[in-house]
Structures are given as structure tokens and as C-alpha cells.
């Protein structure tokens, strides 16, 4: 049996270890629900679960539209769905999710996922299940009010607060337009876990949105430094797309934009 996981993956090749965060799982038997959603899996534990359920191969599709393959066994010989060319994966798309893929040609580089596969649920501790519901229902005001109540009564639970304050910070800025409260939450989440690049990126995004290019550039740089210092065995979720590629790309883009702006200005220098 084949399983397809739509996921963000952190690959640490030097440790030969994958951490997988999965929010959508497809198999060719839709009745099977063998993985809990919204959990982090280490490759070893995932492998055990899959073997128990007679899953021979797993295709991992990253949210950022590129593909990765977790080769638990010899995928090429065990199934007909995946084979490897020189550089690119060719995926013969199984019938049940073929509509979700945009297959350009037999040797396509990327399988592009449709927007429906975006991760939308917040990654929060189990005891905050009620907040996940509010977030999913887009009741953002209620979400922040309830979150702040929880924080007030659980000040000592720093680790849980990190992710909760991260989402509060994003919601306050991007949904409720309250930069002061956004800063309050994001600032505390960063100081509680300064090794998490996703938090720095969120703050960089806000500065960028406020057109503070130089400042956001420094914050993205901090995200890159944080990424290099992060212990991948910590209990916090990892988004590959916001862990490494994103701050690097944003930093570079701002650099290029600033250079262009300076070039235009220089025309008028006397």
C-alpha cells in the first residue's frame, strides 16, 4: 500500500533523520486512519507505524510545492507509482488524488498541489483543542481573547505559550490590525524560544509589511542564525519552508531591492 503525506519536512541529512509534520494523509484505502494528524513523527516511529499497517512506501509532498520521498524500502520495485530519473522524480499519480496534481509532463520536476492542501490548522498543544476550533472557524477575536485568558492562568507553561503567542501575534497583526498587541505576543514568544526561526520570520514579515526593509532584513538574518542554532529534537514544530529557505530568500530579495532603489537614486546624485 502507498501513502501520500502532504507535509512540511525537515531533513537533517548529517543525522540521517527526518522529522515529519503531516496535516493531510492520503492512502489508496481511504478507510484507514493510521496516523494521528498534527503530530510530529520521527522517521523511526513513522516507519514502525507504516509497517504495522502494511504501508510499503511513502511519498512526501512538501507544502512548498517540491517533492520529497521517504524511501523506507525500495520504492521502485515495491510499487508502480514512483520511479526515479536522473534528477527528478516521476510520479505516476494514483487515481484518488490525481485531481489535486498538475502534472506537466512525464519528466516533470514538481508536482504542484492545489491550494486546498495548505496547512491551516494551528499547531497547538492538545490542551488547547478548543482554540484550534476557534481558529479553524475564523473566530479570530475569540481566539485571541481565549488565548490571553489561558496565558493569564498558565503563566508558568512557557513552552506551550510559545506557539500560542506566535499565533496570537500573527492574528493580531494580519487579521485584527493591532500591531501593539502583535508585538507583545511575538516578542515574548521569541524571547521564550529565540532558537525558532519561524518566530523571527513572523516578526520580519511584519516589519516588511510596514516597509521597514533594512530592519526586516536584519530580523530575517537573525532567523538564519537561529536556524543554525536550533536543536532539531526540541518539542516545537518545524516548517521547512519557514525554517531555512524562506528567511534566506527574503533576506536576499530585500538586499536586491535595496540595491535597485539605490541605483535609481544615484541617477539624481549631483
Amino acid at each position: 500500500m502507498i501513502a501520500l503525506l502532504v507535509t512540511d519536512v525537515l531533513q537533517k541529512s548529517e543525522l540521517d533523520r527526518f522529522l515529519i509534520y503531516s496535516d493531510k494523509i492520503f492512502t489508496d484505502n481511504s478507510d484507514i486512519n493510521y496516523l494521528d494528524k498534527n503530530l510530529l513523527y520521527e522517521a523511526n516511529s513513522l516507519e514502525n507505524i507504516l509497517k504495522k499497517n502494511n504501508i510499503s512506501s511513502v511519498i512526501l509532498l512538501k507544502k512548498s510545492e517540491k517533492i520529497k520521498l521517504l524511501n523506507l524500502e525500495n520504492v521502485e520495485t515495491k510499487c508502480n507509482l514512483v520511479c526515479l530519473t536522473d534528477k527528478n522524480w516521476i510520479i505516476k499519480v494514483p487515481r484518488f488524488f490525481s485531481n489535486n496534481c498538475n502534472k506537466k509532463s512525464d519528466s516533470c520536476q514538481n508536482i504542484i498541489l492545489t491550494q486546498e492542501n495548505k496547512i491551516e490548522l494551528p499547531i497547538l498543544d492538545d490542551e488547547l483543542e478548543h482554540l484550534k476550533t476557534l481558529y479553524r472557524d475564523k473566530k479570530y477575536q475569540n481566539f485571541v481573547v481565549e488565548s490571553e485568558k489561558w496565558i493569564f492562568h498558565n503563566l508558568g507553561k512557557n513552552d506551550i505559550q510559545v506557539m500560542l503567542r506566535y499565533y496570537c501575534g500573527l492574528i493580531y497583526y494580519f487579521k485584527l490590525g493591532n500591531i501593539k498587541k502583535s508585538l507583545e505576543h511575538l516578542g515574548i514568544s521569541i524571547i521564550l524560544n529565540p532558537h525558532m526561526p519561524e518566530l523571527w520570520c513572523a516578526w520580519g514579515d511584519i516589519l516588511l509589511d510596514k516597509k521597514m526593509y533594512e530592519k526586516s532584513k536584519i530580523i530575517y538574518k537573525n532567523a538564519i542564525i537561529a536556524k543554525n542554532q536550533r536543536n532539531i529534537f526540541d518539542r516545537f514544530p518545524l516548517w521547512l519552508s519557514r525554517n531555512s529557505e524562506y528567511p534566506q530568500a527574503m533576506h536576499q530579495k530585500i538586499n536586491e531591492s535595496v540595491k535597485k532603489i539605490k541605483t535609481v537614486k544615484s541617477i539624481y546624485d549631483f
Binding site: 524571547i191 521564550l192 529565540p194 536584519i218 542564525i225 537561529a226
Partner: protein, 56 residues
């Protein structure tokens, strides 16, 4: 911790003022709050790779 957070806000709004991070490190060492986590602030403060662009 409250004072550290207040100072950190100042840094977040003015990330080019890296000396603030040294202040935070010193405060955290004195109060022994999350000292090991703040090692990263030293790395950030010592990072000079963007100084040439930001000073222009």
C-alpha cells in the same frame, strides 16, 4: 524577566541596535533567567555580515 522583555521590544523595533542584546544577556546573567537560551543573542550581536549594507 519583565524588564528583559521590555528591553527586547526595543530591540525588535530597532534590530540594528545590537548593543541592546548585550544588555539583555547581561541582565539575564544577573537574574539567571533563561541564560542558556540567550546565547543566541550573543551570536546575533556578533554577526557583522550585514553591517556594510545597513550603514549605507
Amino acid at each position: 524577566m519583565k524588564k528583559i522583555i521590555e528591553i527586547f521590544y526595543e530591540y525588535l523595533l530597532n534590530p540594528h541596535k545590537k548593543h541592546i542584546l548585550y544588555h539583555i544577556i547581561s541582565l539575564s546573567e544577573k537574574s539567571q533567567v533563561l541564560t542558556d537560551k540567550f546565547h543566541i543573542f550573543k551570536l546575533i550581536a556578533e554577526d557583522k555580515s550585514d553591517d556594510s549594507t545597513s550603514s549605507n
